[in-house]
């Protein structure tokens, strides 16, 4: 995997949520092969940024490029087709559909039936708990299992870039650890990852570089080991008491 080539290149985007100026000139780069994390508190604009990359929200200014081509004017379904999948905030699995059907929807953009089957086995390998419940209605799964399904579903599109929106939210620490281990594994198998988190402690353990977002702007950008040492980050996001 050639690390270093920019895969996702966000330059100076401005996105509005209704009348709210949510992203105020945000720039961020994810290189091929990396795990990059974006941390920030509630309402800082983390999800807005991911929605803008996925095309659900449109930026009014700036540009987003993926593997060298501009994507900020594309519809969401076309962005999935060129290789970006998102695990949305709150999982958003299809709760009336079975696990198998959810995974089929994840592979909606693909037609290579035999490789879809192989990948299906692959995600069951990552999340064995889903394999035993293939015909179960997804709405009856526990929170952790739903998060697994949401990640598995996104992987079924065979993305080059995986966007994860707070995968640790609402999960017990042990489950969070299991999910993050899986994210590392997915990354090692060649999927570049952008991880949006409030849980900076966990995110710094698996990401190589990190960005800090506050009210729609990137205020800090560094390697994660340096960010962990940063006083402001420690105060605000790592819960370190500085008395």
């Amino acid at each position: 995997m050639s690390q270093g080539q920019p895969l996702l290149d966000i330059q100076d985007i401005h996105t509005y949520y209704g009348n709210i100026h949510a992203l105020k000139g945000l720039s961020l780069v994810v290189n091929e092969g990396e795990i990059v994390t974006l941390i920030g508190s509630n309402g800082a604009g983390k999800s807005t940024m991911l929605k803008t990359v996925s095309g659900v929200l449109k930026s009014r200014e700036g540009r987003i490029s993926f593997a060298g081509t501009r994507i900020d004017n594309l519809a969401p379904h076309k962005i999935v087709r060129i290789g970006i999948s998102q695990v949305p905030e709150g999982r958003k699995i299809f709760s009336h559909l079975t696990i198998t059907e959810n995974l089929e929807m994840g592979a909606f953009v693909r037609n290579d039936t035999s490789r879809i089957r192989t990948d299906n086995e692959g995600v069951f390998d990552l999340f064995p708990r889903l394999k035993d419940r293939q015909q179960q209605i997804a709405g009856t799964l526990s929170g952790g299992e739903q998060q697994m399904l949401a990640i598995a579903r996104a992987l079924m599109a065979r993305p080059r870039l995986l966007l994860l929106d707070e995968p640790s939210m609402g999960l017990a620490p042990l489950l969070v650890e299991a999910i993050f281990d899986t994210i590392i594994r997915i990354n090692r198998e060649g999927t570049t990852t952008l991880l949006v988190e409030q849980n900076a402690l966990m995110a710094f353990q698996i990401a190589t570089r990190g960005y800090v977002i506050q009210t729609g702007r990137i205020v800090l950008e560094d390697r994660t080991e340096n960010l962990s040492e940063n006083e402001m980050v420690q105060n605000l996001y790592l819960g370190v008491d500085m008395e």
């Binding site: 996925s54 379904h77 999948s85 009336h96 559909l97 059907e101 929807m105 994840g106 909606f108 953009v109």
Partner: protein, 308 residues
């Protein structure tokens, strides 16, 4: 009232109820499919049905006049159904693009008013085409009866009951088994999440209108064959009754629409045993009022959450 205990009367009314119920069910599916995905009532659905009926009428009339129907009656009927379903589908697709899509993010009242406007517009278009005269469906299925015991079932009824069940089974398999059908369910549940799967949400919504309209078109031909007389206002009452059936079954629920259609048909068939036939419509709308008061989510409907 002793005739009420007569099993022949009861069986006859069951057959009558299933016939008209199958037609209601086919139309109710159109309301429920669109509501399931857009949370709007397509009040021009009755006119889509009416245009389908006229499409079938035009095709059948042509076949009868050209003598083709004498040689190939079955084939003529199949083509008439296809013509009706295609005309209704195209009309449904046009309505979605012109009357509803531009209002997708408007307040919910706006597409409703647009739908009522489209309905009146389409009635008037057909009125001008047929110069407001009643049209008579050519009789192509022989009006014969099968007698079993004292019960007589007409060929029409067998044809309509089997035809409507055939279409409903087809629809059910489509929604459950095909990739597009599953995508329809995914879009109905969460439009944004569906788009993040790479599903073209606009295309799925258009497909939903096309399918619902095609079923209404088929129902239009069935009504034409069954009642023989059609006019430009024919969509209004069946439209509202099918809407009632959809609400009865639980709006947004596909199996509920089928159930609601047959339930309403049977309720009407048995209701006329107790009251003058002119009061038939009272049964349907009385049921609507009762359902809305006591079980607004319908027979199979879920508790309506605070979805916006």
């Amino acid at each position: 009232m002793s005739y009420l205990l007569n099993p022949e009367v009861i069986i006859n009314q069951i057959i009558n109820g299933l016939t008209i119920g199958g037609i209601y069910a086919l139309m109710a599916l159109g309301y429920t499919l669109v509501y399931g995905i857009l949370f709007m009532i397509n009040f021009a659905h009755g006119e889509i049905f009416m245009f389908g009926s006229f499409g079938g009428f035009a095709a059948l009339t042509y076949f009868v006049n050209s003598g083709f129907a004498d040689a190939h009656p079955g084939f003529s009927i199949i083509i008439a159904f296809l013509v009706a379903m295609i005309i209704s589908s195209v009309l449904g697709a046009l309505l979605e693009r012109i009357a509803y899509r531009p209002l997708r993010n408007a307040p919910r009242l706006a597409p409703l008013i647009s739908a009522i406007g489209a309905s009146i517009f389409l009635q008037n278009v057909m009125m001008l085409i047929i110069k407001a005269r009643m049209q008579v469906y050519p009789d192509i299925i022989p009006e014969k009866f099968i007698e079993i015991g004292g019960v007589s079932i007409s060929y029409f009824q067998i044809f309509i009951i089997l035809g409507s069940i055939f279409l409903m089974v087809g629809l059910y398999l489509f929604i459950q088994k095909t990739k597009t059908g599953k995508a329809m369910r995914a879009v109905a549940e969460d439009r944004e999440a569906a788009s993040l799967m790479g599903i073209d949400v606009n295309r799925i919504i258009l497909t939903t209108f096309v399918i619902g309209s095609a079923l209404a078109g088929a129902a239009g031909v069935m009504v034409g064959i069954y009642y023989t007389q059609i006019n430009h206002m024919m969509g209004f009452i069946p439209g509202i009754k099918a809407f009632t059936a959809a609400v009865l079954g639980g709006i947004g629920n596909v199996a509920g629409a089928m159930l609601g259609g047959f339930f309403l048909g049977l309720a009407e068939a048995f209701g006329v045993l107790f009251m003058p036939a002119e009061y038939k419509d009272v049964i349907a709308f009385g049921l609507l009022v009762l359902v809305l008061i006591f079980r607004p989510r319908g027979i199979l409907g879920e508790v309506v959450s605070e979805r916006t």
